[in-house]
Amino acid sequence: MEDLRVSAAAPAPPQPPREAGLDLREVEREAEVTRLFDGHHRQLVRLAALLGAGADAEDVVAEAFCDLHRRWTRLRDPAKAVPYLRAAVCNLVRMRQRHLAVVRRHPEPLPPDASSAEYEAEVREEHREVAEALRCLPDRQRQALVLRYWLDLGEREVAEAMGISPGAVKSHTARGMAALARALEARR
C-alpha cells in the first residue's frame, strides 16, 4: 500500500523519445542496426567483393542488413550480430554464384569493378594474378581462404560464417592454399 502511495506521489518518469509509428523496441532495433552498419558496412562490402559478388556486393550486403533488421528480435545475443552478418554475406554470395552459374554458364569475375579503369590502375599485376587464381577455386575453398587470410578469423569463426565444421574449414583451407600455390606457380 505504502509503495503504491509513494509511486502515485512521485513525478511521472520522462517519456522515451518516440518516432512516428515506432515504439521503444523499434527505436532500439533501428539504433543497433545503424550502429552495426556504421561499423561494419565497408568491411562487409569488401568481403562480398572478395568472395566473388562482383558488382552486386553492395546489394548482397544490403540484403544481409535487411535480414538482420527483420530477425533482430529473435537474436538472443547482440554480440552475435556481426558473425550473423558475415554468415549471411557468405550464403548470399554463394547463392548468387549458383544462380549466375545456371544463368550464364560461366564464372563471374572476382572484384566488383574489374573492368573499370580506376580499378585496373589500382591493382597491380601481381595482385590481379592472385585474384584470377582465387576466382578459379571452388566457392568453399575461396571463402575459407578469404575469411582466414583477409579477415584473420580463427577456424571456429570461419566455420560459423560458412556454416560448416572446423574440420571441414581446415580441409578447405589446406586444399585451397595448395591449389592457389599451384596456380600461381603455373603463371610464373
Partner: protein, 91 residues
C-alpha cells in the same frame, strides 16, 4: 612457391584488392529505406491476415446461426440433463 610464401602473397593481395573496393557513400539511406519499407509491408500483411481470419470466423458463426430455425435450441440439442440447474431469467 612454398605455402608460407603463398600465404604472405595472398594476404598482401587480398588487402590491396579489398582497398580498391569503395562502397557507396549513400548506402545507409538506401538500405534503411529498404528495411523500413519491408517492415511496413510485413505489418500491413499481418493486419490484413488478422482481419481476414476474424472476418471468416464471424461469417462462419453467422452462417451457422442463420441455419437454425426460429425456436430451436442453438447450442444444446434435446432436454437439459437431470439435476442440471436452469437459472431463472431475471424478472
Amino acid at each position: 612457391m612454398t605455402h608460407p610464401e603463398t600465404e604472405e602473397r595472398l594476404r598482401r593481395s587480398l588487402g590491396v584488392l579489398a582497398e580498391a573496393v569503395r562502397p557507396d557513400d549513400g548506402a545507409y539511406r538506401r538500405v534503411q529505406a529498404i528495411w523500413r519499407r519491408r517492415e511496413r509491408r510485413r505489418r500491413l500483411l499481418m493486419v490484413v491476415l488478422a482481419v481476414v481470419i476474424i472476418a471468416v470466423a464471424d461469417a462462419l458463426g453467422l452462417w451457422l446461426l442463420n441455419r437454425v430455425a426460429a425456436g430451436d435450441p442453438v447450442i444444446f440439442q434435446g432436454p437439459a440433463p437431470a439435476g442440471a440447474v436452469v437459472p431463472h431469467p431475471p424478472r
